[in-house]
């Protein structure tokens, strides 16, 4: 269990800056999720921590050690790849035992077997030890990969989209299991994903990345409630935040679930009235999504989405002006040019 400190990490591939100067402090035992769209540099950042990529600039510390120039095997890390990267010619036991043999940390055969057993037990796959990877299901492969990662008791566990190859049902289950597993071990964990639900559900803190740069760092709810810029505001949440031009300089944002019929707004709260025409309703069972267009300050139409929970049963007439509103505390303001968050007072 060690903290990880990244200082000014820059990684280039030819002309492209995959990571463009990242400072990050990961606490000991923390579950940190790096979230961003594909190509944002999150995987490169993780590979840099692992030592698979050498950064052009910056330093990496794990615990008290500067590991910037060390090869992966000397960093005390373990990594699970998106593909799980199980050695197809080895049994499950062979796969899990490989790091122990390779690192020469466990020369005694019976001790090694015991540790392989323990690791397998932790992810409940003892009964699969003699199988080959090709005989396993996706969920079982993922467990083997995790057992192999923890068998050498790394200081830092790196996970690169380990759930993306599982089907949706299994994924929710695996998420829960992974989280409780990490708590139990208390191992410092970096988890890379493009899936905001995974990020919100798993992370003690989330790092949102874009174009090789960190956009915002913080606990999931804090990021959701106070996005630092328009990118974070629209990337998190499904659907993302509605943004409207209220003047040349200012964008106003509010989340779909905060746009409610006036009758449903919390009583007593000050609210911003919002009259719009709904053009389409999507019923998702637990929610209703309302789509409509609203003119901005110039009169250009902008797509707006509202999300009504199923307990709001108000009839929504199509193509008719409806009285909606957003509680004032749920309004966000952003600078139109930089996209950065601004105080309402600045409007």
């Amino acid at each position: 269990m060690s903290e990880v400190r990244l200082q000014g990490i820059v990684k280039r591939f030819g002309e492209v800056q995959a990571v463009a100067g990242v400072d990050l402090h990961i606490d000991s035992g923390e579950f940190l999720v790096v979230l961003g769209p594909s190509g944002c540099g999150k995987t490169t950042l993780m590979r840099t921590i692992a030592g698979l990529e050498k950064p052009e600039e910056g330093r990496i510390h794990i615990g008290a050690r500067d590991v910037t120039l060390l090869p992966p095997r000397k960093r005390g890390i373990a990594m699970v790849f998106q593909s799980y990267a199980l050695y197809p010619h080895m049994s499950v036991a062979g796969n899990i035992g490989f790091p122990l043999k390779a690192q020469g940390r466990c020369p005694n055969r019976s001790e090694r077997e015991q540790r392989v057993h323990q690791a397998a037990q932790m992810v409940s796959i003892e009964h699969l030890l003699d199988r080959r990877p090709r005989q396993l299901s996706g969920g079982e492969r993922q467990r083997v990969a995790i057992a192999r990662a923890i068998v050498s008791e790394p200081e830092v566990l790196l996970l690169d989209e380990p759930l993306s190859n599982l089907d949706a049902k299994l994924r929710a289950y695996a998420r829960d299991e992974l989280k409780s597993f990490q708590r139990q071990l208390g191992i410092t964990t970096v988890f890379v994903t493009h899936d905001q639900i995974e990020a919100m559900g798993l992370g003690d803190r989330i790092v949102v990345m874009r174009d090789g740069l960190v956009q915002q760092v913080g606990p999931p709810q804090a990021i959701y409630d106070r996005p630092q810029n328009t990118f974070v505001a629209t990337f998190l949440g499904s659907p993302g935040m509605n943004l409207q031009h209220v003047s040349e300089r200012v964008l106003r944002g509010f989340r779909p679930e905060h746009l409610l019929p006036v009758a449903e707004l919390p009583p007593g709260a000050e609210h911003e009235p919002f009259v719009w025409r709904v053009t389409r309703v999507e019923n998702l069972g637990s929610d209703r999504l309302l789509y409509g267009h609203v003119p901005d300050f110039r009169g250009d139409m902008q797509l707006t989405v509202a999300r009504l929970p199923s307990n709001v049963t108000t009839e929504i007439p199509i193509d008719t002006d409806c009285d909606f509103g957003v509680a004032r505390q749920h309004l966000h303001f952003f600078d139109n040019e930089s996209g950065e968050r601004v105080a309402e007072a600045a409007v």
Partner: protein, 313 residues
């Protein structure tokens, strides 16, 4: 007319026969018929001058088996093939590792690698008879460039380690002649084996190699415990090719030594040629060449079965 044409073209059975016919004809005429002819000759008394069929049972085989030259040829064929294959596979592995190594991101490096890969394939692309004639000159008893270089390096000639003679006479001494034959086989087979191994190596997912690195594996462990087991099936295929080419090869021995000195480099195909064509005894020549067949069949079956068992997915 058109209707009939299109009915024929849509008939998958008919089209199947039409498309398979050329290949089938090719195999029957150029492989099947000669093979059956050889079978018939081997149990007869046929000679170049008299191809009439007199059945004599397995007498030719028994006779050939008792000939000392045949024994030499049998041992040589096996030893040349096995030694050449071992050297080839080791060299091909080293070369394939080098030629698939990650490159520095420079244009010159890419061009250099391209040239290296092209040069590598040249021995395979040259017609065998031509390149072996080239080697015949290289091994020439008097004008061998190898000897010349050794002399210039003061390793050959009067008062040197390999002296006092001015020439090694590569193809005239039993051990050197054997080594020369094996060398040319290795030189000939290495490019193909390397290319096959390169294809195998580059088909290993990079995730697996990254994983090995993260797991703490160093170069040699990754090579022997991850890379080589993964390319094993394809390596066996390349071995199979090499084995069959070398075992049944006539060109190299025919051009370089014709089996000499005495019978020190005699191989089964060469002996078969000497007995059957040069000596005119078609029956015994056929019997000699038929000894090659079961060996190759066995090797092919064994290797293909091992390869399919070692299959990754």
């Amino acid at each position: 007319m058109n209707a009939i044409m299109s009915r024929w073209l849509d008939d998958s059975r008919l089209m199947g026969i039409v498309f398979l016919a050329p290949a089938t004809l090719y195999i029957v005429l150029l492989v099947g018929l000669p093979f059956i002819t050889a079978l018939l000759f081997s149990v007869s008394t046929a000679t170049v001058g008299d191809a009439s069929f007199n059945y004599v049972g397995l007498r030719n085989f028994a006779h050939v088996w008792q000939t000392p030259a045949f024994r030499d040829a049998l041992v040589n064929t096996f030893s040349f093939t096995v030694v050449a294959q071992i050297i080839t596979i080791v060299l091909a592995n080293i070369l394939a590792q080098l030629l698939t190594a990650p490159l520095p991101p420079r244009r010159s490096a890419r061009i250099g690698m391209w040239i290296a890969r092209m040069l590598l394939i040249l021995p395979w692309a040259t017609p065998l008879s031509l390149s072996v004639v080239g080697w015949l000159w290289m091994f020439d008893s008097k004008y061998s460039p190898i000897d010349y270089i050794l002399r210039e390096m003061a390793l050959l000639g009067p008062d040197t380690v390999w002296g006092p003679a001015n020439n090694l006479i590569w193809l005239g001494k039993p051990l050197l002649a054997k080594a020369s034959i094996i060398f040319v086989h290795v030189w000939r087979m290495t490019p193909l084996a390397t290319v096959i191994l390169m294809a195998g190596l580059s088909s290993i997912p990079t995730d697996l190699l990254d994983q090995a690195e993260v797991d703490g594996s160093r170069y040699l462990r990754t090579l022997f415990q991850v890379k080589l087991p993964l390319v094993m099936p394809i390596m066996l295929i390349s071995l199979l090719f090499g084995f069959i080419f070398t075992f049944g090869d006539l060109t190299v021995v025919y051009i370089l030594t014709r089996g000499g000195p005495i019978t020190h480099t005699l191989t089964l195909p060469m002996y078969s040629f000497l007995v059957g064509i040069d000596g005119g005894n078609l029956a015994q020549g056929a019997a000699v060449s038929l000894f090659i067949f079961p060996v190759l069949l066995l090797v092919a079956v064994v290797l293909l079965r091992t390869a399919s068992r070692a299959e990754i997915r």
